[in-house]
């Protein structure tokens, strides 16, 4: 052991210590007593350590229960702060590892500011933590560990270390390893495992970003067919017209022979009536080419009135001839 450093006051040159002669003090060339061997610095350190040792959070009475699928109670093992679980516990997909212990800060039971179970994969340094549920009054803490809680990347590890982390402001904090767990991934649930891994990495998340530009090409305007086809069909319609007129005038002999008699009886009415009908068709032609609706309606009002008046007269005359049997 090293010689303790002497008190500085007494380590002065001899000639300056002349007042000590009057106080009957001897310079310390011999070994001082045991108490004064320690320095002020180490004294303060020891005091702090003893204070801290008085309120460090720890736990007692640890119990680990592995509940399997067909065996709800399961076997239980005990552990403590200095006696972790001896063997690695295998954790299958349906198993639940229940941990229970009582938290204490050396003197009283209670609940620290933070109480966590840390699950760590030493090879990849990935870790996850699970808060313990602690009762304030009794300090009893428990936590359940199963495959559904552990992230998928941790489940791939061979061995996961379990540690209890306790602490808070003011009091001492501790991290105690309590054992290890070997998760066994079910090969049948491999697809779900892969999906969980992808989800944890953030795949499948909705990311809002601008979409690709849309280049729309509108449909081309419809075009008329070649004029030849139109002409052919026009010829067909005109042929129909020609056929109609021939049928009327030659084959059936339309009532042209009635015309002189009709004109004789009521010339004004018949001419006005036929003229008004032709004028109406003329109005429609003007509407098609240049006029607007209001002009056509005005014209139709006038011509319609003319047609009505002359028509009634003309038809009255026709009826008279029909009743006479001449039609």
């Amino acid at each position: 052991m090293q010689r303790m450093t002497t008190f500085p006051f007494l380590a002065r040159p001899r000639h300056l210590l002349w007042p000590c002669g009057y106080l009957n003090l001897q310079p310390t060339t011999m070994q001082p007593p045991a108490f004064t061997k320690m320095s002020l610095r180490s004294l303060l350190l020891l005091a702090c350590c003893s204070l801290a040792a008085a309120s460090e959070w720890t736990f007692t009475g640890g119990k680990a229960t592995l509940a399997k699928k067909g065996d709800p109670e399961g076997s239980s093992l005990s552990f403590g702060p200095s006696e972790p679980l001896a063997s690695t516990i295998p954790l299958a997909s349906r198993d639940v590892l229940k941990l229970q212990f009582t938290l204490t800060d050396g003197e009283t039971v209670g609940r620290p500011h933070q109480a966590l179970l840390l699950v760590k994969d030493t090879q990849s340094s990935l870790e996850a933590f699970f808060p313990l549920s602690v009762k304030e009054s009794s300090g009893r803490a428990k936590v359940d560990l199963s495959h559904k809680d552990i992230p998928a990347h941790l489940l791939d590890a061979a061995v996961l270390e379990l540690s209890v982390v306790l602490g808070g402001p003011g009091a001492g904090s501790s991290m105690t390893q309590i054992g290890s767990v070997a998760p066994i991934v079910d090969p049948a649930a491999k697809a779900m495992h892969e999906k969980k891994r992808a989800q944890e990495l953030g795949e499948g998340e909705v990311v809002y970003k601008p979409k690709a530009e849309i280049r729309h090409v509108f449909r081309a305007d419809p075009k008329n067919p070649p004029k030849v086809i139109t002409l052919v069909f026009l010829m067909a319609v005109i042929a129909g017209f020609v056929g109609l007129f021939t049928a009327w005038f030659t084959v059936l002999g339309a009532n042209f022979k009635h015309l002189p008699k009709a004109l004789q009886a009521a010339p004004v009415s018949h001419t006005l009536f036929l003229a008004s009908l032709l004028l109406l068709e003329g109005l429609f032609f003007m509407y098609y080419t240049s006029w607007n609706l209001f002009q056509v309606l005005a014209g139709a009002g006038v011509v319609g009135l003319m047609a009505f008046l002359s028509g009634s007269r003309a038809l009255r005359e026709v009826r008279a001839r029909r009743e006479r049997g001449e039609r």
Binding site: K223, I229, V251, R322
Partner: protein, 127 residues
């Protein structure tokens, strides 16, 4: 067409119930018994059917662009056909008993009015 055939002449032929016999006798019978006015109307009806068929054939072959033109033309044909048929019914002397309140002249006046309206709407639609 509500024409009443006299029952007496039906029994003249030996196998009068045979459809083929009736069909072959139909044209001659038509030309004999139909009044001249009705035949004029029938010629116009045939013309209208022909024009409507031509328009439809054009639409099928050459596409229906512009569509409103096809509709206007086809509607004109069909509407005129309907009006002419109703004129034919009302002015046929054999149907006199059914149309006591409507004289043939009144039917003709209605026909003219309806045709004018139809033409107006078709011109409007053809744009």
């Amino acid at each position: 067409m509500s024409k009443s055939r006299p029952a007496a002449s039906a029994g003249a032929a030996s196998n009068s119930n045979n459809p083929l016999t009736i069909l072959s006798a139909l044209p001659a019978r038509y030309l004999q018994t139909t009044p001249s006015r009705t035949k004029l109307i029938d010629a116009f009806l045939l013309f209208l059917i022909f024009t409507g068929a031509i328009q439809f054939l054009y639409c099928v072959l050459a596409g229906n662009y512009p569509f409103n033109a096809f509709l206007a033309g086809f509607t004109a044909t069909v509407g005129q056909f309907v009006l002419t048929v109703s004129l034919r019914i009302q002015s046929n002397p054999e149907n006199k008993s059914e149309f006591k309140a409507v004289s043939p002249e009144r039917a003709f006046a209605d026909y003219v009015f309806g045709s004018v309206l139809l033409h107006f709407f078709c011109i409007n639609f053809i744009n």
